[in-house]
């Protein structure tokens, strides 16, 4: 789907169900106003996040990707975020090699109680992405154009 022109950029968040999705809920419950760009994909655990999801998003249409999980040692599944931390940190090194600004991807930890922090994270990241502007993308296959045209209608 296309972004709200001139107003929003495409930002995807991958949030673990137990901490960060809850933190985003807490921010909502607290009516902590945030920029509207972010779209959240809920996953059970940051350890579920295949770094390729991030690459997929960045290559195929996202201007920014934000990952958030439980703070280290607070993982609902005990260890998932520890694996995530290593994998996300490593995959970040691929972005400059691809010609993608590494600031388009960040990961952080937000607990279910940290509504204020979530607001801050969303504000900061959205601002960061708006500072970078819309991302340039490698061309997709022309034979798939028909799919995009329908989506744009």
């Amino acid at each position: 789907m296309s972004v709200l022109k001139g107003q929003e950029l495409r930002i995807i968040g991958f949030l673990c169900n137990w901490c960060s999705y809850g933190g985003a809920d807490t921010a909502g419950i607290g009516r902590f106003v945030q920029p509207t760009d972010l779209r959240v994909v809920r996953v059970p655990c940051s350890g579920r996040i295949n770094p390729l999801f991030i690459m997929k998003a960045l290559l195929y249409g996202a201007d920014g990707v934000l990952v958030s999980g439980c703070h280290p040692r607070d993982c609902h599944y005990a260890e998932g975020n520890f694996y995530a931390r290593r994998r996300l940190e490593v995959i970040k090194a691929l972005l400059p090699a691809l010609g993608i600004d590494p600031r388009r991807f960040e990961y952080t930890w937000v607990s279910a109680s940290e509504g204020r922090r979530w607001q801050h994270v969303v504000e900061s990241f959205t601002m960061q992405i708006h500072d970078l502007g819309p991302a340039r993308r490698l061309p997709d296959a022309p034979e798939l154009d028909v799919l995009k045209m329908v989506a744009a209608e």
Partner: protein
């Protein structure tokens, strides 16, 4: 006895114990050796080591799991064997590793560059080494090239010219030419503007024909026919001819090799479109080395870094919001 002859002897000696020994023979083109599978002592006479023995024979090992095989390895090939062993993808008792000191191998692409249009590298009729020079017989006469100009880049940064963890090591060990991999190639690429870097990949990947030679030549790519590149479930890629999907496959390959790539460069060598796909893997290897002091195929004592974790990661500086 030359090292090649010594190796032939060792291979013959190893044979009764193994179903075959994997090495190199002369290929259909003078500059490119082909894999050799020695099953009888007579086969061993065709064995060739040296400057043209570029192929990484470790790529074949997982196929032979369950029986014992021998493999002749250069230093870089030995790292692949080491990483396969560390990940339990092959068993130590099922491989007989025969190592020797490697002085570097040829990069045929560099020969093409060095020829500067004098002829098509495919027209070369014969090649021989003379000291520091490579002498090529072409339809238009002999051409001499400095070996330093046509030796593979990976050899210039090789830290392990002597096969590690070999059961038999033939010859005297060599001193590595350098003391550390400075990843100057990655740094040089990243010195370009982001725009230029993406331009580069757009151009390079447009040549990709999706033959997946890069993947199949990779000794660490053990998924083979189960690779996600061809699967609809999960379905990471379409079958279209877009640069995006092609690039994304390289990202998949690089990410699956993060902390596992030994830098043998076979992916790049195998590419018929000559796309420098090793660069992405090296960008990740550099990061893994920085973060976890881990070099695949060398520091294999513990679990691979991305299959483990530490409660405190001293080198990971998380974003401070």
């Amino acid at each position: 006895m030359s090292i090649q002859e010594e190796l032939q002897a060792v291979i013959k000696e190893a044979l009764p114990d193994v179903s075959c020994v994997i090495g190199w023979r002369e290929g259909p083109e003078p500059l490119r050796a082909a894999p050799l599978f020695v099953r009888t002592p007579a086969d061993a006479d065709a064995f060739r080591s040296g400057y043209f023995a570029v192929n990484n024979p470790a790529v074949f090992l997982p196929e032979y799991k369950g029986g014992k095989v021998g493999v002749v390895v250069k230093g870089c090939d030995a790292r692949s064997v080491g990483q396969l062993l560390a990940e339990g993808l092959i068993r130590r008792e099922e491989v007989k590793v025969i190592g020797f000191p490697c002085n570097g191998v040829i990069d045929v692409d560099k020969v093409a560059v060095a020829l500067a249009g004098a002829c098509d590298p495919g027209e070369i009729q014969a090649a021989r080494e003379e000291g520091d020079e490579l002498v090529l017989t072409t339809p238009s006469g002999e051409i001499r090239l400095r070996k330093t100009a046509v030796t593979a880049d990976k050899c210039g940064r090789c830290l392990f010219p002597n096969a590690l963890d070999a059961d038999v090591f033939v010859g005297d060990t060599l001193e590595p030419a350098v003391s550390a991999d400075d990843y100057a190639d990655v740094a040089a690429f990243e010195a370009l503007s982001l725009e230029k870097r993406m331009d580069f990949w757009e151009q390079e990947m447009s040549r990709c024909v999706r033959c997946y030679a890069c993947r199949n030549a990779c000794p660490m790519c053990v998924c083979r026919e189960h690779c996600v590149a061809l699967s609809r479930d999960p379905r990471w890629l379409t079958q279209s001819d877009g640069v995006r999907d092609k690039m994304f496959f390289q990202i998949i390959h690089a990410s699956h090799l993060a902390g596992r790539c030994t830098g043998c460069g076979e992916c790049q060598r195998a590419c018929p479109a000559r796309i420098p796909v090793l660069l992405l893997k090296r960008a990740l290897s550099r990061r893994v080395e920085d973060l976890f002091a881990y070099r695949a195929g060398v520091d294999v004592a513990g679990p691979p870094p991305l299959l483990s974790f530490a409660l405190e990661e001293p080198k990971i500086k998380e974003r401070d919001w």
